[in-house]
Symmetry: C2
Subunit: 196 residues, 2 copies
C-alpha cells in the first residue's frame, strides 16, 4: 500500500478513536512510521487529509450500501430473513473500515454541512433504503403483511443502528447487544410477517 494510503488509513483510525481535533499530525506520522513534515509531501495539510478521508468514506459507503448487489436473493422465509439481517449486522459491526467511518462520523457530524449530510445518509437513509427494498420485495412475494415498506424499514433498522453505536462505545457489552438485536428482529418478524 502506498504511503499516501497508509496515511489516510492511520489518520482515520486515529480520528475514529480521538476525533479530528484530538489527533495531532505527529501522531498520524508516527503511526505511519514517518516524521510529521513528510506528510506534507502527500497532503497540503491536516485538513486536506480530513477532506480526502471524507471523500473516500463516501465512495466506500456507496460500495457497500449504494448498490443493489448487496441484497442478493431475497430471503425465502422468516428464519432466512433473521439470518440475513443478523449477518448484515455482524458484518457492519465488525468490519474495521466501516466501524472507523461510523465512529469518525458520529464525532465529526457537526463540523460541516457535508459531514452532517453524510452522517444522516450512513445512519438513516442508506440502511433504510436497503431494507425498504428487501421488505418491499418480500411483501410482493407475500411474506410480509401489506404495510408501508419505508415505515417498516425504519422500525427494523432504527433499534439496530442505535445498538450498534452502543457497541462502538461499549464493546464489552457486545454479546448482550447482539442478543438484543436478534430479539428485536425476531419480534419484528412476529409482528409484521404473515403466518403463525
Amino acid at each position: 500500500m502506498s504511503t499516501k494510503d497508509r496515511i489516510l488509513e492511520e489518520a482515520l483510525t486515529l480520528f475514529a478513536e480521538k476525533g479530528y481535533d484530538g489527533t495531532g499530525v505527529d501522531q498520524i506520522a508516527e503511526a505511519v512510521g514517518i516524521k510529521a513534515p513528510s506528510l506534507y509531501k502527500h497532503f497540503k495539510g491536516k485538513e486536506d487529509i480530513l477532506n480526502t478521508i471524507i471523500d473516500s468514506a463516501e465512495v466506500r459507503y456507496d460500495e457497500y450500501f449504494g448498490s443493489d448487489r448487496n441484497i442478493g436473493r431475497l430471503p425465502g422465509n422468516k428464519e432466512q430473513f433473521v439470518q440475513m439481517a443478523m449477518k448484515k449486522v455482524s458484518f457492519t459491526m465488525h468490519d474495521p473500515m466501516i466501524q472507523k467511518i461510523r465512529k469518525f462520523l458520529v464525532q465529526e457530524q457537526f463540523r460541516s454541512e457535508r459531514l452532517a449530510e453524510i452522517t444522516t445518509r450512513h445512519q438513516l437513509d442508506g440502511i433504510q433504503r436497503m431494507y425498504t427494498r428487501i421488505i418491499e420485495g418480500m411483501m410482493n412475494e407475500g411474506w410480509f403483511k401489506k404495510d408501508d415498506p419505508v415505515l417498516l424499514a425504519t422500525e427494523l433498522t432504527a433499534p439496530v443502528v442505535l445498538l450498534i453505536s452502543k457497541a462502538d462505545r461499549q464493546p464489552q457489552c457486545e454479546k448482550e447487544i447482539l442478543e438484543s438485536i436478534e430479539k428485536h428482529i425476531r419480534h419484528f418478524c412476529e409482528v409484521y410477517m404473515k403466518g403463525v
Copy 2:
C-alpha cells in the same frame, strides 16, 4: 447567575457546537465576558470544567428522565398517547439544555468510559425505561395488546432518538422530521394498540 454557573453554561454551549478539543479556554472566557486567566479562580483547569459539566449533566438528566413524576396520568386513548409522545418529543428536541447535553455527549462519547455509559443512558436506557413504564401501565389497563413492554418501548423510541439526532445536525429538516416521527408513532399505535 454566578460566574461559575455562567462558565459552565457557555462552556457547554461551545462544547456542544465545536467539541471539547475544538473549544479554547479563551473562547469560553470571551463568551462569559471575562479573560481566560480568570477562569482559574473558579476551576482548576479546562478538564475541571469538563468534569463539572458531566456531573451536572447527570443530575440534570435524572431530573427529567429519572423520576416517575414525568409520566403523569397515563393516556386514556390512542390520540392521547400520540399527543403525549409528540409533546415529549418536541420538548426534548427544543429544550436548549437537553439539546446541548445531547450534542455534547454524542461528540465526546469516546472520551472516557464514564461518558460512554452516560451516553448510553441518555440515548437508550433512560427513554426506554420511561416508555416501558408507560406502555406497561397502559397494557395493564387494556390499551395495548399483550406483549413485552421493554421490546415495545425499544420499537417506539429508537426511531425517535435517531430522528432527533438528525434534527440536531440538520435543523433545517426539522419540519419533515417531526412529520416522520408522528407518522412512526401513529403506525406504532396501529400495530400495538387494541381496537380498530
